[in-house]
Subunit: 405 residues, 2 copies
DNA sequence: AGTTTAAATTTAGACACTAAATCAAATAGC
DNA sequence: GCTATTTGATTTAGTGTCTAAATTTAAACT
């Protein structure tokens, strides 16, 4: 029943979409601008704009003749109504939940984060998530009705239809009825996606990967996951397992799913246990079991040879994975992101030195600048994509009343 | 200048495409069938069909009331005109060229193959290719004017726009003006693609991978290349290097770009040189330098332990690469194809035994049944995709006269 | 005030669709 | 052989959307 054939009304729908799309990423425009951009005639453009205004997706600006020609009849100026609604982007991790609120052009309007209680059961985790979302919405002064979609990133495999893949990895921690239970009273569309995939979306949207359509993002904090974008599209594989390097055989004496943070802690702890003379010991203090990645990176920055050796091992390890990505996917760029991404810059020399030896198509390597909002940013992007896809079927909640700047 | 907006005529174009597409993969249909399939009204369907007949893409069948109801006014029966033209699918390898001729529903109409002279220069290679294509067309009794598109598979990296990637591997052997020089007098659209990618298209179209939308095909003859399909789409990567495992680091004492055939020969020769007692020696005959893959597989089939050990090594090696594919791409199925694919069945037990140890998402593994037409079959598919995409812009050359069954 | 300029609107016409009535060609029953 | 029935094709009237061209509008300039 998937009819591809069309009626005359479909024509208008197509043109509504075309105009809306142009206006979304071009800001305020006159009718003439839109004629130029879409190839439609003036009569049509105006009709479509009036239609969009009526639907609430576009608003008309008053006065203001600052740009363009000063002569002739002043042009009506149309603008995508960025406050016709908002979306939520969530990063639901093992220990914490982060929520971003964004307007329809992606302007960030609110933010909140919270830790899960260690003993939390399903219902309690859901409650924590809901509470954090409420706080973020409150910060943005937005009503529930403004939310048009919710994107959620999870540390588990999710297939391309947004379904959690049972049996793969940590799904039981995340398969907690986020779609069916959490916001059923609001009826918000909830879109699930793997966290590394969202990190890739985030970087592709507003990170160092902006404009790069063949991209891999390694989400390397405690764990290590990879999000893959080819030709601007996210790759999932048949079970959403694409890029899930957790089971990679790397024969290094540590689990292959370990991210940068865990590796640094692991090897740092080992170095202390072996009694090596290193700055790490002083930085950590008396309780030598409390090594964290931060101390190792700090010691390395102060030229501590033991810490630097650890960083080199981590770098070689990353280079190994990146080289495989380069060989199989041939991305233009690989971005290292995640909690410790700020420190990851120290790994670049090692990685860049190793790569050409390991693959014939070495990608550029960069470090993310999105910090710990990388997944939530991608979640926002995912939700926005849904809204863009379904705009004409949705009703802008804030139509007419305006929902914040 | 990529206008997405539309005019009333675009509506008709959309419906022409929709109807044509339905008819292409459903065979002969009545107006009522098309109403059912497209959701359009009878008046529109008939108008569209008459339009398509006028353009030469569809023909009307006479008489024949075998199917459907016997009562009432007999329905007009429409059929996609499979002989409105043809396409060529070429496999241009290092040593040989293979050409397939196919009608627009993919029915094979002609075939020819030829070896390149060892001393051939660019112009001579082009001439051999042209001559082979002529022979295939002659076998199908088709005029030059019937050819609507040509797909060509090459053993070198090709990016997603069909451009050979300079500097990567064997490009100099294949960048011989196939698009600019070869058939410029006929004006045939020539589409270039990597051979492993075409193998993947071929398997996805008419091989064991039919219906599997997340698929990897390992083209493993003398060399080893991989074609990747995710969600039904071919992956290229930024330089067309995706799946080009030629530079993979596998630390086995042999080049990683080596395919099954070369590995068998390599290790078979080594076994003889080491003076091992093996059936291979007898099969090869007096000149022990002339080991070929065939002898090794034959000896293994006769339970020769040395040959079987070689097969296991090859199998483990393949499993290694497949496991990496499984980890990074998570395909549902991996198909082994290429010149020696018939023998590859002997490798399956080893591969299937190794895989679960190497990756958490082991794909199904199968052996291609397309034989040495695998690349040319994919080339046909590539050319057909072009014709389907551009059908309404093209003029069916055989319009009215019919160009073979 | 009149002219110029650029934009908006109106008007006429074209194209493509739907829905409903009518026409056409076959079978089935009497 | 005639009529009723069935099914498909065609015609007609009406609607929605677009373009192109003429007209109107609203400002700046002279």
């Amino acid at each position: 029943m998937d009819k591809t054939a069309t009626t005359p009304q479909a024509l208008r729908r197509t043109n509504l979409r075309a105009v809306l799309e142009v206006m979304r990423d071009a800001g305020a425009m006159t009718g003439t601008d839109l004629i130029e951009a879409t190839g439609l005639t003036r009569a049509t453009v105006i009709a479509v704009c009036d239609d969009l205004i009526r639907r609430g997706w576009v608003r008309e600006l008053e006065g203001d003749r600052s740009t363009g020609s000063q002569k002739g009849r002043p042009a009506r100026r149309f603008e995508f109504n960025a406050s016709a609604g908002c979306v939520l982007g969530l990063d639901v991790g093992m220990a914490t939940v982060t929520v971003l609120v964004a307007g329809l052009t992606g302007q960030m309007l609110g933010r909140a984060a919270e830790r899960f209680s260690k003993t939390a059961d399903e219902a309690e985790r859901r409650a924590t998530i809901a509470r954090t979302a409420e706080r973020a919405l409150a910060e943005a002064s937005l009503p529930h009705s403004a939310v048009l979609a919710v994107g959620i990133g999870l540390s588990t495999a999710v297939d391309r239809h947004g379904n959690i893949t049972k049996g793969l990895q940590l799904s039981e921690h995340f398969d907690i009825g986020l779609q069916t239970e959490l916001w059923k009273e609001h009826g918000w569309p909830v879109l699930l996606e793997n966290d590394a995939n969202l990190a890739a979306l985030g970087e592709h949207w507003r990170g160092v990967g902006a404009g790069v359509d063949d991209l891999a993002v390694m989400l390397a904090g405690e764990r290590l996951g990879t999000g893959l974008i080819e030709s601007g599209r996210l790759l999932h594989g048949s079970n959403g397992g694409a890029g899930e390097v957790g089971t990679l055989e790397l024969v290094d004496g540590v689990g292959s799913q370990d991210g940068i943070a865990r590796l640094a802690r692991h090897w740092g702890t080992a170095a202390l246990a072996e009694g090596k003379a290193t700055l790490i010991r002083e930085l950590v203090g008396p309780d030598t079991t409390r090594v964290s990645a931060r101390f190792v990176f700090e010691a390395a920055a102060k030229n501590d040879p033991v810490a630097q050796e650890i960083l080199e091992r981590i770098g070689r390890r990353m280079a190994r994975v990146i080289s495989l990505l380069g060989t199989f996917l041939n991305p233009e760029l690989v971005v290292i992101g995640g909690a410790v991404s700020a420190s990851a810059t120290a790994l670049l020399p090692t990685i860049n030195a190793e790569l050409p030896r390991l693959t014939g198509t070495p990608p550029r390597v960069a470090v993310s600048e999105l910090g710990d909002a990388i997944v939530a940013t991608g979640a926002v992007r995912l939700a926005l994509a849904y809204v863009e896809e379904n705009a004409l079927a949705l009703t802008p909640a804030g139509a007419g009343q305006g929902v914040g700047a």
